[in-house]
C-alpha cells in the first residue's frame, strides 16, 4: 500500500513538474493566436520599429513603447544596483548586529509593498520632486511625470530584491577570509573590495539579474508616474509609455477599435518574448561565469 501511494504521488507530482514549461508555452501560443489579426496584416518591422501609434487610423507602431520600457528599466537599474550593493555592504560589513537584524524585516517590508501603493506614493512625492526640484536643477521643464520618476520608483521597488540576495552572498563569505586580509594590514574597505566583492562577484551578478527581472516585470507603479504619452522619450525628464502601461491603460477601448486588441496582445507577446530571451541570455552568462570561477 505504501509503495502504491508512493508511485501514485510520484506520477502526480511528475505531471505538476511539467506545468511550468506547459504554461510558458500556453502563454506564448495564446498571445500569439490573439495577435494574429494584426500580425497577418502589418509587417513585423512596422509593428516593432515604427513610432506611429494612431489606433483610430489603424497605425500600431510600438517603437515608442519599447523604447519607453527600455529607458525606464535601465534608469531603474542604474539607480538600484549601486545603491543596493553599497547598502548591502554597509549592512554586512559595517553595521552592528542589531542594525543588521532590524534592517532585514524592513527590507522585506519594502519588498512586500504592493505596486499601487508605490504608485500612490510616487504620484504624491516623486512626481512633484522630479518636476519641482530635479528638472529645474537640470534646466528643463517637466511636469514630473517622466521616465525619471518611473525609474526612481522602480529602483526603490528593486532595492529589496538585490539587497536580499547580495546579503546572502556576503554572508557566505567565511569570516576567516576577511580576517586573513585584515591580518595582512589591509583596511576594511580594501578587504571588502578585494576579497568580499571578488568572492561574491558571481552572486552579485545573479542578484542584479534578478533585480532586472523584477524591475522589468513591474506594471502599475510605473504606469502611475511615467506620463503615458505615446512618443519616443528624448530625455529622462520626458514622459514615457512602457509596454505594460500601454496594455493596462487601453483595456477599456480595446474592444471598440478594430485590431486594437490584437495590437495590445502583440505588445503582451513582445513582453513575454523579451522575458524569455533575457532568461536564456542570463542563464548562459551565469553558467559561463560560474565555470570561470570554478
Amino acid at each position: 500500500m505504501r509503495l502504491f501511494k508512493d508511485a501514485l504521488a510520484r506520477r502526480a507530482m511528475g505531471l505538476v513538474a511539467a506545468l511550468p514549461g506547459i504554461l510558458v508555452l500556453l502563454i506564448v501560443v495564446g498571445l500569439f493566436l490573439k495577435s494574429k489579426a494584426i500580425l497577418g496584416i502589418e509587417p513585423l518591422s512596422r509593428l516593432l520599429f515604427s513610432s506611429a501609434w494612431h489606433p483610430l487610423k489603424g497605425q500600431f507602431g510600438l517603437l515608442a513603447f519599447i523604447t519607453g520600457t527600455v529607458w525606464v528599466t535601465v534608469t531603474a537599474l542604474v539607480l538600484a544596483v549601486p545603491v543596493s550593493i553599497l547598502a548591502a555592504i554597509y549592512l554586512s560589513e559595517y553595521a552592528p548586529r542589531w542594525v543588521r537584524e532590524s534592517a532585514k524585516p524592513a527590507v522585506d517590508l519594502l519588498a512586500g509593498l504592493p505596486s499601487v501603493v508605490y504608485g500612490v506614493w510616487g504620484v504624491l512625492l516623486v512626481v512633484p520632486f522630479v518636476g519641482g526640484v530635479l528638472a529645474p536643477l537640470a534646466g528643463v521643464y517637466s511636469s514630473g511625470y517622466s521616465i525619471l520618476a518611473g525609474g526612481i520608483v522602480l529602483a526603490i521597488m528593486t532595492f529589496p530584491t538585490i539587497i536580499h540576495v547580495t546579503l546572502e552572498v556576503f554572508a557566505s563569505v567565511p569570516r576567516s577570509l576577511r580576517d586573513a586580509s585584515l591580518s595582512l594590514g589591509a583596511t576594511k574597505w580594501e578587504t571588502t573590495r578585494h576579497v568580499v566583492l571578488r568572492k561574491g562577484a558571481q552572486g552579485i551578478l545573479a542578484a542584479s539579474v534578478l533585480g532586472f527581472s523584477r524591475a522589468f516585470g513591474e506594471t502599475m507603479a510605473v504606469l502611475m508616474v511615467v506620463g503615458n504619452v505615446p512618443a519616443v522619450p528624448r530625455s529622462l525628464f520626458d514622459p514615457g509609455y512602457p509596454l505594460p502601461a500601454l496594455i493596462a491603460n487601453n483595456y477599456g477601448e480595446m474592444m471598440s477599435v478594430p485590431r486594437y486588441d490584437a495590437a495590445l496582445m502583440t505588445a503582451a507577446l513582445v513582453l513575454m518574448l523579451i522575458v524569455l530571451f533575457f532568461n536564456v541570455l542570463a542563464r548562459r552568462i551565469l553558467v559561463r561565469v560560474e565555470r570561470r570561477v570554478r
Binding site: P174, L177, D179, S181, S183, L184, G185, A186, R198
Partner: protein, 253 residues
C-alpha cells in the same frame, strides 16, 4: 633573552559578553624564538593569539582590558593605527584561507596594499617568499592560476608566503598544521623552525608532540589563566604547577 621582549602582555583580560575568557595574563614573548602556547581546547589559546594582532576587534561583544606592548607601544591605546600593527605580524590560520585570486596575486596582495608599485619589485618579492615557504618549485610555472587549485598543504604554504611578503617581525600561528596531512605538517614545522632565525614566532597548538618538537619557550594556558611559562625544556622536564603536570601527562586534555 637579548634585549627587551618584542611582545609584552600586561594584565590582559578578555571578555566575550559576560564570559571572561582570559584572566589577567602577563607574558613576555622572547625575540627570535618559537613560543608555543598550549592548553586544553576552549582555554583561551586562540583568543590570546588573536589579541596580539587585534583581530579580536572584528568580533562582536568583545571587551579587552590590559595592555599588549609591541616594541614598547601599547597596541590597544586609543589612537593606534591598526593596519600598521597588523602589518608587523603575519598570521597563519588553522584552515588555509587563500584569497580569491591567482597564486601570484595572493602573495602580492599584501605588498600591493602597502604601496609597492613596481611590477619587477613585486614579482621579485613573490618569488622570494614562495621560495622561503618552500613552494616555489611547485608553482613557478603556474603563478597565474587561481590559488584554489592547490592542495591543502600547498595552500597553507601559500598563506605562509603571503604572510611573510609584508615583511612582518612576528609570525603568529593558530594551530597551523591541524588541517594538514602528516607530510605537509612536517613541511610547515620545518619552515617555522628555519624562520625563527629572522622572526619571532608564536604558535598555538593542541598537539603536545608538536610543542615538544618546535618550542623554545612554552606557555601553558588553562581556563583563561596563564598557569606556567618558561623555557620549553625546563617546563617539560619539571612542570611546577600541578595543573601543568596533569596536562603534560595527559590527565587533562
Amino acid at each position: 633573552m637579548n634585549g627587551p621582549a618584542p611582545i609584552s602582555i600586561r594584565n590582559l583580560s578578555v571578555f566575550y559578553g559576560d564570559l571572561q575568557v582570559l584572566k589577567d595574563v602577563n607574558l613576555d614573548i622572547p625575540a627570535k624564538k618559537i613560543t608555543v602556547i598550549i592548553g586544553p581546547s576552549g582555554c583561551g589559546k586562540t583568543t590570546l593569539l588573536l589579541s596580539l594582532n587585534r583581530l579580536l576587534d572584528t568580533a562582536e561583544g568583545v571587551r579587552i582590558r590590559g595592555q599588549v606592548l609591541l616594541d614598547g607601544e601599547d597596541i590597544y591605546a586609543p589612537r593606534t593605527e591598526v593596519t600598521r600593527i597588523r602589518k608587523k605580524m603575519g598570521l597563519l590560520s588553522q584552515k588555509p584561507q587563500v584569497l580569491p585570486m591567482s597564486i601570484h596575486d595572493n602573495v602580492a596582495y599584501g605588498p600591493r596594499i602597502h604601496g609597492l608599485r613596481s611590477k619587477k619589485d613585486i614579482d621579485r618579492r613573490v618569488e622570494h617568499y614562495l621560495k622561503v615557504a618552500g613552494l616555489w618549485e611547485e608553482v613557478k610555472d603556474r603563478l597565474r592560476e587561481p590559488a584554489s587549485v592547490l592542495s591543502v598543504g600547498q595552500q597553507q604554504r601559500l598563506c605562509l608566503a603571503r604572510g611573510l611578503a609584508v615583511e612582518p617581525e612576528i609570525i603568529l600561528g593558530d594551530e597551523p598544521t591541524s588541517a594538514l596531512d602528516p607530510q605537509s605538517s612536517q613541511n610547515v614545522e620545518r619552515r617555522l623552525m628555519e624562520l625563527k632565525q629572522e622572526y619571532t614566532v608564536v604558535v598555538v597548538t593542541h598537539i603536545l608532540r608538536q610543542a615538544r618538537r618546535v618550542a623554545d619557550y612554552l606557555a601553558f594556558l588553562y581556563l583563561g589563566e596563564l598557569v606556567e611559562h618558561g623555557p620549553a625544556a625546563e617546563v617539560f622536564a619539571n612542570p611546577k604547577d600541578p595543573r601543568t603536570r596533569a596536562y603534560l601527562t595527559g590527565e587533562i586534555s
